[in-house]
Amino acid sequence: MIRLLRVLTPWIILLILASAANAQNLIPLPEFTDHEIRETENPSARAAWREHLDLAALAVGLVLASYFALVKRSRRGLYLLAIASLIWLGFWRQGCVCPIGSIQNVVLALADPEYALPIGVVVLFALPLVFALFVGRTFCAGVCPLGALQELVAVRPIQVPVWLDQTLGLLAYVYLGAAVLFAAMGTAADPIFVICRYDPFVGFFRFGGSANMLLVGGCFLVVGLFVGRPYCRYLCPYGVLLGLLSKLSKWHVRIPPQECVQCRLCEDACPYGAIREPTVNQTAEERVRGRRRLARLIVLLPVLVGVGAWLGHGTGASLSRLDPVVRLADRILLEETGRAEGTSDASDAFRNTGRPIEELYREAFDKTRRFGVAGAWLGAWVGLVIGGKLIYLSVRRRREDYQPDRSNCVACGRCFWYCPNEQARLGLIKGLTPADTAP
């Protein structure tokens, strides 16, 4: 009996299948004598209060970080706060209450009116920026879980040569440009959020993730042992915005509590290369040379932007590979022309829909063209950033004291301890008041 069934089953199934497909009919629901047809149960979503709690935690964290960095001048407080936020925003919320990623949501909301931007995300995006306008990058110091993780592993930081530091710093601007571009090219139903896709640390927060993600994250942490905060300094797109606004900050972390005695003890204290030494006076000849160089660079800027746009336009095709529609059209084209064997899940799924292939090609072609334009914008942005950086580096600013570079300083508070005035303030140097060390 069983053997017979085994032999017959495929046939029975085929028969049923054929009839079902033919009539577009289902095998009918039986009329039960005493059985109630059950309803499909759907579990309810998580409560919304959690989101509000996270925003409240963010606000409290920012206030605390600013207090520890600017008022209390407590490295220990900042360190503990960083650990707390690593646990809360990192491990508990799994890195997904993230102002860094919120850039993309804001851009998508501006690009696609279909996209409903939750107010929570607006707050998430704007709050650290507003804080940066007034107190600098205190968000980075004690609230950002990615920053906190790197802060904890930076145990043997070396000084990165200035030229390398400044050059790698440009990568963050490029990454920001790319993230904005892809977010703007996505749609509400199908967002392309590269910052989230290539977040290096989220795999650790979740104790799992793709091998690539963990590998890249591991590399960042290993490098982070010796080069302080590699992600924050050289990739973080939100850090770019924070840095720009932090330049205008009303108050900012100071290295000495009151006055600088120019003892140079703090010179090597910063693992992030954010301490700028006092400037020396220039000779008249140097000044003229500097001015000439600046003029040349200002002329160079539009050239760089133009060349960037031209080169960027050529990258449109490769950029568009991240778009699912373009990828699908490529695959279908390969299959149709016999250059790829078999079919993929994606092409099967597409053929199931019965959509005409030409329509897909047209959509993909259109998208690729738009990516070409977007690529040109990205290239122009890269040119602008390089030219702007060169000009920025050529403009001389007078500094009389050792000062934190406002855009690079993440207010970690490591330099406090190196300052003898701070030691005196804390009463750690006996019999010395800050007044004694006044120059």
């Binding site: 069983i2 199934i13 979503a45 939750p118 959020f193 896709r197 979740r206």
Partner: protein
Amino acid sequence: MADQHAQKIDRRRFVGNGVRLAGAVGLGGAAGLLAAQRGGPERDVWQIDPDVCIACTNCETHCVLDESAVKAVQCFLMCGYCDVCTGYFPTADFELNTAAENHLCPTGALKRRFIEARAGVRYFEYTIEESECIGCGKCVKGCALMNGSLYLQVRHDRCVNCNECAIAVACPSQAFRRVPASEPNLLKKTARDLMAKRAQDA
């Protein structure tokens, strides 16, 4: 000279303050505008369109959670209560009983319960035990051979609502999309039609 110096600082401070104020107002304004424009806090969440889903098994492996937020769901209205269920049994080499070797489901999450027999035909109810389901979609693919009453859904008690869903990136048929949080579940068109018809009859 000292006067000049003081003036210069003042000017710089003035410019700084102005820019800061403009920046704060601009940021706040932009934030407010964005918030107002979008008409309230209507959140959206990830969901699978079951009519587009091909049950490729990516849901099981690509979710950032160790145990995927995607689970198989039974739409009882669409089910045929078949004895030989292609979602429950493999299509070859099986016996019609619940012994482990006969399960298509790798974790035995699909439960088979006898309901009644009429005119020699036995009817069974199939339910998903969600705590055991890993979202591989094998039953969904099997069921698609018949009525297709089993389908995959993102379960919102588990989903962490990532900004960019890792499964959506890996989804070959682009079945993942954002849906309003007030209507977080999707049905097949057939199921919607059946429900409409049922409501009409009642």
